[in-house]
Structure formats: structure tokens, C-alpha cells
């Protein structure tokens, strides 16, 4: 086996895994706090990519610079979705929570189709072609930035949840809803903020992916699925688990191309998923439940 190729694939897998982790973290956060599975997760990310694309094309602002704006926009979108839809279905059986969120996904997907059409769009951003070379090993700069920022955002969210007042409220609501209500926390507003935060995280991941892949309205499903696998791998509701799961999946997917045709990538992801569910159904880092 070619050693250079193997190392190259492992590095690329780690970098990709960081972004997978960030996408999944939003899903994990939303599940951890409210017990709701966000089936519109990938579509929210695609929305973020389109908003960023729009800002780039209309105002000439590079995705890295528009990151804050896009994250804010998608935060508001998440907040509103929680306030108008999800808060109403939060006490319903899980099977009934699925439909409204799937429909939100469909609406977002078709909204993108209506607004931007079915074509693949991939504007060339400032750093989208840069790479660093360490001997024969190539490191893709936009992937590296995405990875570093993904780790940075993960730490930021951790600090936010541990140190700030709202963060503590979110954790309280997540831990014991009734208890949180009793100590005077406006749980519905905390839920809104949590969903917004989850959406904002996936929005950040989307913006970081924009220089790396063309956007099209129908790509959301794939990422919802990826996020699911990562979350289950790492442990439902465990934020650090999302990052670990992302890294494992990223490396596994890329290294598998050494032995298997690329068309079997998904077989690899799902095989890992099945193995984890058989031997450690709570996920790698999910210990409590």
C-alpha cells in the first residue's frame, strides 16, 4: 500500500471529520436539550450556504467574512422555527415530531429550488484553491481553516454552555424541564435559543464548506444523514461525542477508498453505525443513559 497516499487520506479525513463534527454538533445540541430530532438539519445547512453564496455574489463578501451574518440569519430562522412549530409538538410522541420537521426540510429545500434553481453553484472564493505542501503531502487550506474553526466553535459552545447564564439555563432545561420551570426559567425561550444555536452551528459548518463543494438544493439529505451517523456514533446529546464521531467517520470514509470503490463509501459509514449500535448502543461517549 502506498504510504504517501494513506497518510494523505488520513489527513484529509481528519480535516473533513472536523466539519462533520460541527454539523452534527447542532443536531446533538437540539436533541440533547429538547429530545427532538431535527430532520431539517441538512436543509438548514444548505440554506446557510445559499445565503453565504448570495452575499458573495451580490456584495462580493468572501464566505469567511460573511460567516457572522449568515450565522445570525440562520440563528433567527432556527429561533422562529422553534417558537412557531417545535414548541407546539415537544410533548407529542416521537413519531409525530418527525413529520413537521421533515416538512420544514422539504419547504426549505424547495424554497432553495425556487429561489436559486437546480444548477450547481460553486463560486471561486479567495482561498478555495490554496494548498500547503509538507513534502509530498498536500494540505488543503480551506479544509484546514474549516477544521480549525470547527474546533474553535466547539470550544466556544462548550464555554458558552458552562460559563454564561443562558448556557446554564440551557443545561438546566436539558437536565430537568420541570425543575427549570420551577426555578423561574422561561423554558420555551431557552428552547428557542437552543434550537437557534443548533441551527447556527450547522450554518457555520455550511459556510465553511462553501469553498469546498458546489451547492445544489437537493444536497441537504446527505448531510442530515451524515449528521445522524456522527451523532449516534458519538452518543446522542453528547457534544464532544459529535466531534469524536465526526473525526472517526471522516477518516473511515476517506481511508476506505484505498480498499473499496468510492461508491461503497456509504456502506462503510453505515457498517460503522451498525457495529456501534450492536456493541455500544449509547455511542462512544454517551455514558449516562
Amino acid at each position: 500500500m502506498d504510504a504517501t497516499l494513506t497518510i494523505q487520506l488520513i489527513i484529509q479525513g481528519i480535516l473533513l471529520g472536523g466539519i462533520y463534527g460541527l454539523i452534527a454538533m447542532g443536531l446533538s445540541l437540539i436533541f440533547g436539550v429538547m429530545g427532538v430530532i431535527n430532520f431539517a438539519h441538512g436543509q438548514m445547512m444548505v440554506m446557510a450556504m445559499y445565503v453565504s453564496y448570495w452575499i458573495f455574489v451580490l456584495l462580493g463578501l468572501d464566505p469567511y467574512l460573511s460567516l457572522i451574518i449568515v450565522v445570525a440569519v440562520i440563528f433567527v430562522m432556527g429561533y422562529v422555527i422553534q417558537a412557531t412549530v417545535v414548541n407546539r409538538i415537544i410533548d407529542y410522541p416521537e413519531a409525530m415530531q418527525v413529520l413537521p420537521l421533515v416538512s420544514i426540510g422539504l419547504i426549505l429545500e424547495n424554497l432553495a429550488l425556487l429561489l436559486w434553481g437546480p444548477d450547481h453553484r460553486s463560486p471561486q472564493t479567495i482561498l478555495s484553491l490554496e494548498s500547503i505542501w509538507i513534502g509530498p503531502i498536500m494540505i488543503d487550506v480551506s479544509r484546514l481553516i474549516a477544521f480549525v474553526l470547527a474546533i474553535f466553535f466547539t470550544i466556544l459552545i462548550f464555554l458558552f454552555l458552562k460559563k454564561t447564564n443562558i448556557g446554564k439555563c440551557i443545561r438546566a432545561a436539558s437536565d430537568n424541564r420541570m425543575g427549570a420551570i420551577l426555578v423561574g426559567i422561561d423554558v420555551n425561550r431557552i428552547y428557542n435559543a437552543s434550537f437557534g444555536l443548533g441551527a447556527a452551528t450547522t450554518a457555520a459548518a455550511g459556510v465553511l464548506l462553501l469553498p469546498l463543494m458546489p451547492i445544489s438544493p437537493h444536497m441537504g439529505h446527505d448531510f442530515t444523514l451524515t449528521a445522524f451517523i456522527v451523532v449516534i456514533l458519538g452518543g446522542m446529546g453528547n457534544l464532544l461525542g459529535a466531534l469524536v464521531g465526526g473525526l472517526i467517520l471522516g477518516v473511515a470514509e476517506l481511508v476506505s477508498t484505498l480498499f473499496l470503490p468510492a461508491t461503497l463509501k456509504q456502506v462503510v459509514s453505515f457498517s460503522i453505525l451498525i457495529i456501534i449500535m450492536l456493541f455500544r448502543p449509547q455511542g462512544i461517549l454517551g455514558g449516562k443513559k
Binding site: H120, P123, T257
Partner: protein, 426 residues
């Protein structure tokens, strides 16, 4: 209390407006045929295209191409040998599924279609050709490439488009031409393809044709990836490890972009990129997004003839109506209806037997695509169908960057750049 009322109102207005928007979108997306009821004798042409489903973008373009030609013929006075009879396009939607395509064609025949055209996909074409043979209605395909469709010996099936073997022969012919002309022969090649029926069939066929061609090019690796892939970094790392001189990609619009950028980032040294016949390299969006990186890519494709009057006139009308340029597929859809009108003009009748006879004697030259006169052989294939070799070359005008470099009589640029400068040295 007032808040709740407002909420209810909002929801109602929302439902009303959104359903109106939905209805509007549904109606407009069908391209609204203008039903011409003025002159009583109308000749109905059934057009079955994949207007919804995964190929909707192309299907709608096909319909528009058919309709544009119908409008043109009618504006020019209809079928003159039949007293200026107008054409009417009956619309069928295959939803990209053979069984639906067949039932739609059947419906159009029952509604009085004298000829059926379409259907873009070979699978659908196979289903419709059998139906048309049973119903004895001429089936003149605008686009569909699989050889098998016309290999069955059906009397009523004809094809204006090129066959897959014609397409592959073209690829080998142009590959020989370029390597001879430039005196540069690649030794190692990688073939990539998307894992759909088209990608597998095209790349498999191309490898076979390449082996038979006698060219000393060895295919050192075949890289296949799923349709709609988002990341090709691992695949390109594998391509790089195979150390190819030339890349033969069978791609789709999205993956062409990722592939090229990854080749750049990983510094894969190539003499050039040569597409045996696939989209992904000439769409205006792709040209714009890849800019310099897509220069010098060569693709063997059935192509429009932008210098011809008939193309320019049709393109102007198409742009005016749909603000998109008339691409190859739509131009073939346009040609299909022009050929049908030419046949009707010569038969002066809608009798199927007479139409068959006239179709076999077709010699239609005034069309907007690269190729000789449309003439049908024993099997019903168009002997004039040709592919062009196009190369993306620098030009201020984005839309003029795709240039025909062969065959000579259609060429827009007499220089072919091969080997191409490496992607990162441009």
C-alpha cells in the same frame, strides 16, 4: 385575544398566497402551450419528455425546444402542402420513468397525435418504440442514444440524435486526430465516471473502444463515484497515485467542478482532460465558476452549430422566451420537430404509411446542430449525426469560451491546445 385572531388571519392568508404561488409556479413551469385553434386543420405532434422528476431541468428544456419549432413553423405559414395546416404540440410527461412514458405516449396517440417525438431517455424510448410499432404511429426521436432502440428492426422508429457507438467512435476519432496533430501520445490514462446507468455505460464502452482502437494508451485505473458526490479528495488522491498522463472523465455538472479543483489542489500533472462524451464541462455556470481552470478541457459531444443562421434565429427566440441559451439538447428537440415538419410538407398527409415512406427519403439540411444532412438508414438512425470536438478556450465573453475545434467545416477555432498548461501554472 387579538393576538390569536391575528395569528389565524395570518395562517389563512399564508395558505391562500402560498397556494396561489404554488399554482402559478406549476402552471408556468409547464411552458404553457399556445393552443392554436384558428385554422381548423391542425396536425398533432405528441411530445413525451421527462418534464418532472430528476431530469426536469432537461425535460422542460426539451419541451421548450419542441414548442419553439412548432411556433416557428406555424409563424412561417404552417404546412403549406396541406393548405397551411398548423402544428399542435401535445404534451406528455414521462416523469423519467419508462412505464409512465409509454402510457403518456399512448394517451397522446389516443388524443390524435400523428407523430410522437421525445423522449430524452433511452429506457423510455425503448418502451415507446414498442408501443408505436403496435399502434402504427411514427416515432421520430429527438434525443435518445442507446443503440438497442433502433436495433430491434422496428419500422416506425427513427432517431435524429447520434447513437452511443457513434458517440464513442467520435471520441476515438478525435483522440487520434489530436494526438496525431500534436505528435504527443499519452501513455497512462485514468477513466472516471459517475455510478449511474449513463456513467457506467459510457465509461465501460469507452474503455472497450479505446482497447480496440490500437492507440497505445493504457487505462491504469478506473475511478467510479456516486452521482451527486460532495467530496472527491480521496478519489483524486487515488488518481494522483496512478500517475496518469491524461484523464477521461464521464461526469455530471456538479462533479466536474469538484474534480477540477481537487486536481489543481493536489497538483496532478496531466497532459490534458479529454471528456469522451458527458456534460459537466460546457454549461455556462460551470465555465463561470471554474474560469481559468476549465480552459483547454476537450469534450466530444453532439453540439450546436452556433454559426448557422437557423441556430442564431432559434437561439434569439429561445433567449427571449426563457432567458437561457439554446443548448445542445434543446437544439436537437428543435431539430426533431423541424424534421417532422419537413416530412409532413413532402407527404401532404398524416397517413402513417405515407409518413414512413417520406421519412426514409428525408434529406434535411437546414438544422441548428453540428452534422450532415438528416437522412435515415435502414435501421432508422440518422446517418448525418456527428459529434463535435469542443475545447474551452480563453475569451472575454463567457458564452463564447466553448469553441468547436473539429470537424473542420464547423470549427470556430483552428488552434487546439494540447498538451494543456498545468492547472496551477495558468
Amino acid at each position: 385575544m387579538p393576538r390569536k385572531k391575528l395569528g389565524n388571519m395570518d395562517r389563512r392568508t399564508f395558505i391562500k398566497t402560498s397556494s396561489m404561488i404554488g399554482l402559478g409556479a406549476a402552471v408556468t413551469s409547464f411552458g404553457v402551450p399556445k393552443l392554436l385553434r384558428a385554422a381548423p386543420p391542425t396536425i398533432k405532434i405528441g411530445s413525451v419528455q421527462p418534464a418532472t422528476g430528476p431530469l426536469a431541468v432537461i425535460g422542460v428544456g426539451q419541451r421548450r425546444g419542441n414548442q419553439l419549432a412548432v411556433d416557428y413553423i406555424n409563424a412561417m405559414g404552417g404546412i403549406k402542402s396541406m393548405g397551411g395546416a398548423k402544428l399542435e404540440l401535445l404534451l406528455g410527461d414521462s416523469e423519467s420513468k419508462p412505464e409512465i412514458g409509454r402510457s403518456e405516449a399512448d394517451r397522446l396517440i389516443k388524443a390524435g397525435a400523428s407523430v410522437i417525438t421525445g423522449p430524452f431517455q433511452s429506457g423510455v424510448a425503448l418502451a415507446i418504440s414498442t408501443l408505436c410499432e403496435q399502434r402504427q404511429v411514427p416515432f421520430i426521436m429527438d434525443v435518445a442514444a442507446l443503440d438497442k432502440i433502433t436495433d430491434k428492426g422496428y419500422k416506425y422508429t427513427f432517431r435524429v440524435f447520434i447513437t452511443v457507438s457513434g458517440l464513442l467512435n467520435g471520441a476515438i476519432k478525435y483522440l487520434k486526430m489530436v494526438t496525431d496533430m500534436k505528435g504527443v501520445m499519452p501513455k497512462r490514462a485514468v477513466v472516471t465516471n459517475t455510478a449511474d446507468a449513463f456513467g457506467k455505460g459510457m465509461s465501460g464502452g469507452f474503455v472497450k473502444f479505446l482497447e480496440k482502437s490500437g492507440l497505445p494508451i493504457e487505462v491504469v485505473d478506473k475511478v467510479q463515484y456516486p452521482l451527486g458526490i460532495h467530496d472527491l479528495s480521496a478519489e483524486v488522491a487515488r488518481i494522483k497515485a496512478a500517475k496518469p498522463d491524461i484523464l477521461f472523465p464521464v461526469s455530471r455538472p456538479g462533479d466536474g467542478i469538484i474534480l477540477t479543483r481537487e486536481l489543481y489542489k493536489q497538483r496532478v500533472e496531466l497532459l490534458g482532460i479529454f471528456g469522451p462524451g458527458s456534460p459537466g464541462w460546457y454549461e455556462p455556470d460551470v465555465i463561470k465558476d471554474l474560469d481559468k481552470l476549465i480552459y483547454y478541457v476537450m469534450v466530444n459531444v453532439p453540439w450546436i452549430n452556433p454559426e448557422s443562421k437557423v441556430y442564431q434565429q432559434a437561439n434569439a427566440a429561445f433567449q427571449k422566451a426563457h432567458s437561457r441559451y439554446l443548448d445542445t439538447n434543446s437544439a436537437y428537440a428543435y431539430t426533431g420537430v423541424l424534421v417532422i415538419a419537413d416530412i409532413l410538407e413532402r407527404t401532404a398527409s398524416t397517413d402513417p404509411e405515407k409518413i414512413l415512406k417520406a421519412t426514409r427519403q428525408t434529406n434535411f439540411t437546414n438544422h441548428p446542430v453540428v452534422g450532415g444532412p438528416v437522412q435515415f438508414d435502414q435501421k432508422g438512425n440518422n446517418t448525418g449525426a456527428l459529434t463535435a470536438l469542443i475545447q474551452v478556450q480563453p475569451d472575454q465573453d463567457l458564452l463564447k469560451r466553448v469553441k468547436i475545434v473539429a470537424p473542420n467545416e464547423f470549427a470556430q477555432s483552428d488552434k487546439i491546445v494540447f498538451p494543456a498548461p498545468q492547472l496551477w501554472k495558468r
